[in-house]
Symmetry: D2
Subunit: 362 residues, 4 copies
C-alpha cells in the first residue's frame, strides 16, 4: 500500500534511507531448499556499487550484505530472508546545506509536500542507493530462475546520448558486458561512450542513455490477462528505478510507425516447438510470455545532480549548493539494477505460473 | 493475484469474455455520497464502441451498461459498484474457424499454453473488448477526480505512422479531440491521418500510432516511494492496454539523448506556489506528483488482425482464415481507454494520498 | 481493502445489496480445466435459501444462479467466474418504515456512521442474504478440494440454546445432517431443537446456537507461519458470517481449563503416516495443517430481528416497527455457509501450498 | 502471500527465527510526523520478555530494540520503520537433541512437511519469540491510536484453569494489571492464579487460560462489510498468536445459549451520542465499530513444552528430551501480545476509515 513492497508470491519489502543507520530488504515467498549464501548476493551488489571505475562517483559505500534470517545450513527455509547493509561512508557535513534545498529535478520538493518531513541526507529515501536492496533481492530471484529454468537475464548499455551500440540479443553474454567500463558489449561504441562520459564529467554535466535487457529461457505462460500482464509488470518495475523516463518491449515505440503486415510475428515450428520467426512482440503476446526471448529497453534521464545544481527553499529563495559527488551518467551502474528488477518480476510470475500448475519445460 | 484486478484503495475487478454472455466490472473502494448514474458511465463507453465512424470496425456492440449495485437514491453507498454489459452482436459462425487457429501476434498461443483451454470466440478473454469494463470503471474515477480536484484528463492521437500532430498540452480540450474522427486535435494532421487510415484499410493492412495524455490539476504528493511510483503505476496501466508496446513520461526516450543542464526543470514561484519552469519531469519527480501537468505517451502497434492473417494450429499446420472485421488502427478508439486507465491510477493514488492525511489543494 | 474480497490465490469478490437488482460474486484464481456447471453451484445455494421448512422464514428468494463468464465447453478457463443471482421477491412497502430505523443489534447505525448513506431495504449490504454469493463461490472451492484431495467438509448444528448434540466427527455425513430440519445429525437432539425453535418462533423471539464443522482429508502443510495461520484465516472467515460471536478450533475454550499433560496430542505412526493420538489441536499445529481432521466451532447469537424489535432514529426518537419475517434461529440455514467459508479458506491455502511445490498426498 | 505480513494500510512484515542472528519487523504505512523513539517500543517489549518474575522462564533475552529507518529528528517520516532485535542468549547445545525431534503439539512436524527444512533451534520460526516483533509494531499502533483518538487498549488475565477473575471492563487500568505477577487486576484471584501456576511449574506441567481485552474510545465506523469485519480481523490477529485456540467478542459463546430478547442491545441517547444500553455486541455491529468499548476474549492452551515432553522422529521412533526451560502458563506474558495485536488491527482499520473520509470524533 505504501509503495515499499513489490511482488505477490515473491515479495520484496525495501526499507532504509541513503544515510540512515542501514538499508535493507525482506524477501518473502522464496521457495525452501534453495542453496543460498551471502556470496550469491554480494556479487550482484558489487556490480552496483559506486567507485568501480573512473567514470563513477568515488564514494566507497562497499555495500557489504548480511543475511539475518531465512537460511539454515546453507539453504533457504521458506521463511523471510532479511538482508541488511550497514551504512558507513557518511560525511554528514557534506549534506548540511541540503536540508532546506529543493534541488531541480530531485524528489526533495515532492517528498516535502507528501510527508511534511524527510531525511535530507544523501537524498534520504529517494536516493538511488535504495536500489541496493532490490539488487540483493534480485540476486535471489535470478538464482531461482537460473536453477529452475536456466534463465539468463542480461542487460547492457544500448545507448548513451547519440552513441548507439549494435548488440545481438541472441548472443550477448554477461562477460562481454562486464568487460566494458560503461557496460556496453559493443567494443567500439563502448570506447566512444566512455570518452563522452568522461568529457561530460569534466564539464560538470551529466548525460542520459538507454539500457536494453534480454531474458532468455522463459517458458510460455508467464503473465496474467488484463491487469498483471508480464510486460506491464516489467514496465512498472523498470519505471520504479530512479531516473527512468520510458519503457518499451520488442518493437516498442518503433511499432507506432509500422504496418501490421510488417509487424506481425509469424509462428513457425522449430525443433518441435512453436516459435515466432520475428520477435517484434519482444517475447510477450497478450501479456503472457510466448517462449521467445524477452527484450525490453529502458530510457534514463541525465543524472539530476550536476555541478551547477540549482535549488530553492520552500519560500522560493535561491540556495547555493557546492558541487556534490555524482555519476555523470547513471546508465552503467543501472545495468545490474535493470537485471534485478527484471528478475524480480519474472520470478514472481514464474511462481504464480507454478501455483496454477504450470510446467517448467520451455 | 490472477491479473483481473487493479488498484489498492480504488479497486477494479474485470470479468468476462468477448463473446460470452456478458462482460463486467466490480469497482470496490468508491467513496460514498458521490452522485452517479448510468449516464456518467455510458458517455465514456460510447466513445470506445466500434462503428462510430467509417474508419472503425462496423460491429455494432452498443455496450449498454447497467449498474447492479452500490448506488442508492442516485448516490454511491461506499459498497461495491457492479456494472454489467450484456453481449449482443455475436455471430458464432464467423469465428468457428478460429477455434484451433493460433493467429500471428495474437494471444491464442499464449493462452493455450497458460491455461490449456480458452474461449476462442472473438479472442475470448484476450480481446480488447474487455477494456470496456475498464472504461466504465474509469468513468467513475474521472468523476471523483473532477469533483474533488477539478482534474482534467485528456488523451488524443499524437501520431499515426509518421504523421505527428502538434498539440499544446496546456490548452488542449476534449471537444477538439472529439471533433476529429481519428481523435487528433491538430486539424490538419487529423485529415492526413484519416486519409492514411482509410488507405491502409483499403489495402487490408493496419497501422500503429502514439497517444499522448495530459492530466491537469493533480496536487503534489500522489505516488509512493520505491515501488508504487506514480509514473510506474501509470506505465503498468498503459502497458495493460491491448496492443501497447511502449510508455514514456515527460521527456521520455528523448531524455536519453540529453545533457543534465538541459533536462533539469528549475523550480520557480508562481502565484505563491512552487512550480517548474520546464516540465521534462512530466509532472512526476521521485515517483511523486509535483503539481505540474502529468504528460505521458503510449505507443500502439498496428492491429494484429489484418486481411491476410496468418495462423497455424498447435501442430504447426497452416490455417487459412477469412478476412475478419477489424480496425485498421486501434489508436482513435484507444483514446478513451488511455484516459480511463490514467484515471484509475490517479484516483487510486489520490485515495491513498488522502488516507495519510493529504490535502486537496494543488 | 474495502472488505468485499477474500482470499489471495483463490479470490472472491462479493457485491450487491439484499434488495438491489441482483447480488453476485466474482471468483478469480480458479484453476483451469475443472468441470463446472450451474448445477454444482445451485445445489449448495438451495441449502441456504429461506422457505425450506416450517422453521425458516417463508420468503421465497429462490436464488437462481447464472454463470456469466469463465466457463467454456463445461470447463473452467482459468479466468474470472462471474456469478449473478437476480433478486425477485422484493416487496418494497414492507421496508419503507425501516429507512430511518436504527434497529437494535443490527448494522443500521454503524453503516449510517461509516458511509453517511445506506440502502435500507432488507438490510441492504449488511443482510445475511449476501452470504449467498459466498456459498456460490464456496461450491467451487468445495469441488476443487473434492477433486484434488477428496476433501469432505461437513458442518452441522452442534447446539441450540442448551440442547447439545453428540456427534462423531470421524463418521458424520452430509446426508445425516440434511435429514434433519435443524441440520443436526443427532436424531434425538434434532427433535428437541426443532421443538425449541418452533416454540421460540411462536413467542416472537429468537435463539442462538453453535455450528461444528469438520474437514477431513486435508494434507499436512496448509497454512502459513506468523500471520496467515490456517486456523486464523478460518477464524476470520467464520467471524465474517453474520451473527457470529465466537470461534474455536480443536479443544477451543476448554483448553483454558486444561493441563499440558492432558492437552498435548502425542504423535503416532498409523499406516506409515504420522498422526496424532488425540486431536486437541483440531488438525492445526503452529498454524499449519497436520493431516488430522480440522475441527472447529462457531457461535451464533440469536437473530437480531425479533417480533418486538426496538429501534430509534438518528435523533434518538423511538420508532415502532411491525413484525418482520425472520428466522427464529439462523443456525440451520448457516450450516452451508460455514461449509462454504471453510472451503474458501482451505482452497486458497491449498493453492498457496501448491504454489510452493506442495504435494497432494495426505 | 507467505504469511509474514499483516495489515493493509498499516502493514507489518515480521522476519527471523528464535535463535537466528536477529529478529525484526518492518512497519510500512505509519503516518509521518508522529514522535517516536526506541523508548516507546522498548517499554512494551519489556512487558513481554521472559525472566520478569518467578513464574516465567528464566531465559534473559533482554530484547533490546533498535530502530534502523523511518525516523528523522525524532519523528516518523512516513517511510518504512525497520526495527531489529539481535539475539543473544542462545545456548546451541541445549537444542541439539531437538533437531530431529517432532515434539507433541509443537510445529516441528508441520514445518517439516510444509518446507522440508526448518531451523530447529528454539522452535525456529514457529517460536513465540517471534511475537516480539509484533509487540514492537503494536507499540507504534498503540501510540497512533492514543494520539489521534485517545484510545486505551487494556488486556489482562481473565482466567487460569478454573480461576476466573471479576473485572469491570469500564474501569480497569493498566497499572492494576501490571501490579499483578500473573497480570490479573482482580487482586484476590491474582493470588490464587499465582499459586496455581507455581504449583503447576513444580509438577513440570503447564496450564491454560483466557485473556480479556477491552479497547475504549474507538469511534463508530471502523471495520468493513462482508469480509474484513472488525471482529473478524481481530479474531484472525488473535488466532495468529501462538497457543491460541479460541476467540470471542462481546457475549461470545454465551450468545449461543441466549434468546434474542435478552441479547439485543437497545440504543439509547447519552450526552447527545447514540450508545447501547448493554454491550453484548462487544462494540461491533455488522462488522463495524459502534462507539462502545470493544471487548474480546482469547483462549490459550497450556504450554506445549512440559517437563515430560514426548517426541518422535520422522520415522516414528521415540526421542527422549531433557526438560527444557518453559513458561508453565503463557497467559501472563501474552497480555502485551494481545494488546499489540488488537492495536495493529485497530490502527489499520482506523487508517482505512480515514482514507474514505472518516472523522475522528467518537
Amino acid at each position: 500500500m505504501s509503495g515499499n513492497s513489490l511482488g505477490k508470491l515473491f515479495r520484496v519489502t525495501n526499507w532504509g534511507e541513503s544515510h540512515g543507520k542501514a538499508i535493507g530488504v525482506v524477501v518473502d515467498g522464496c521457495p525452501s531448499l534453495l542453496e543460498l549464501s551471502e556470496k550469491d548476493i554480494q556479487k550482484e551488489l558489487d556490480r552496483r556499487i559506486p567507485g568501480q571505475s573512473k567514470i563513477t562517483t568515488q564514494r566507497k559505500e562497499k555495500d557489504k550484505v548480511e543475511i539475518l534470517s531465512g537460511i539454515f545450513n546453507g539453504k533457504t527455509t521458506g521463511t523471510p530472508i532479511s538482508m541488511i547493509i550497514y551504512n558507513k561512508d557518511f560525511r554528514k557535513e557534506d549534506y548540511k546545506k541540503l536540508t532546506k534545498a529543493l534541488r531541480s529535478s530531485h524528489a526533495d520538493f515532492t517528498y516535502e509536500k507528501k510527508y511534511g518531513i524527510r531525511n535530507p541526507y544523501g537524498g534520504g529515501r529517494s536516493s538511488a542507493r535504495l536500489t541496493a536492496g532490490n539488487v540483493a533481492a534480485g540476486a535471489i530471484a535470478k538464482k531461482i530462475l537460473k536453477e529452475k529454468l536456466n534463465t539468463e537475464i542480461i542487460a547492457y548499455t544500448k545507448r548513451i546520448k547519440d552513441i548507439e551500440a549494435v548488440v545481438d540479443t541472441g548472443k550477448v553474454k554477461e562477460k562481454y558486458v562486464e568487460a566494458s567500463i560503461v557496460r556496453c558489449p559493443d567494443h567500439k561504441k563502448s570506447e566512444e561512450m566512455e570518452a563522452l562520459v568522461e568529457e561530460t564529467a569534466k564539464k560538470g554535466d551529466s548525460v542520459g542513455g538507454i539500457i536494453e535487457c534480454v531474458a532468455r529461457n522463459i517458458p510460455p505462460g508467464l503473465g496474467e490477462p488484463i491487469f498483471d500482464k508480464l510486460d506491464a509488470d516489467l514496465a512498472k518495475a523498470m519505471m520504479d528505478i530512479n531516473a527512468v523516463k520510458g519503457f518499451e518491449i520488442g518493437s516498442g515505440f518503433s511499432a507506432a510507425g509500422m504496418y501490421g503486415t510488417a509487424h506481425n510475428d509469424p509462428f513457425i515450428m522449430e525443433a518441435g516447438k512453436i516459435r515466432t520467426k520475428t520477435n517484434n512482440s519482444g517475447g510477450v503476446q497478450g501479456g503472457i510470455s510466448n517462449g521467445m526471448p524477452i527484450i525490453l529497453r529502458v530510457a534514463f534521464k541525465p543524472t539530476a545532480t550536476i555541478q551547477k545544481q540549482k535549488a530553492i527553499d520552500m519560500k522560493g529563495n535561491d540556495i547555493k549548493l557546492g558541487a556534490g559527488r555524482h555519476d555523470p551518467c547513471v546508465v552503467p551502474r543501472a545495468v545490474p539494477i535493470v537485471e534485478a528488477m527484471a528478475a524480480l518480476v519474472l520470478c514472481d510470475h514464474y511462481l504464480r505460473f507454478k501455483a496454477l500448475g504450470g510446467k517448467d519445460g520451455n
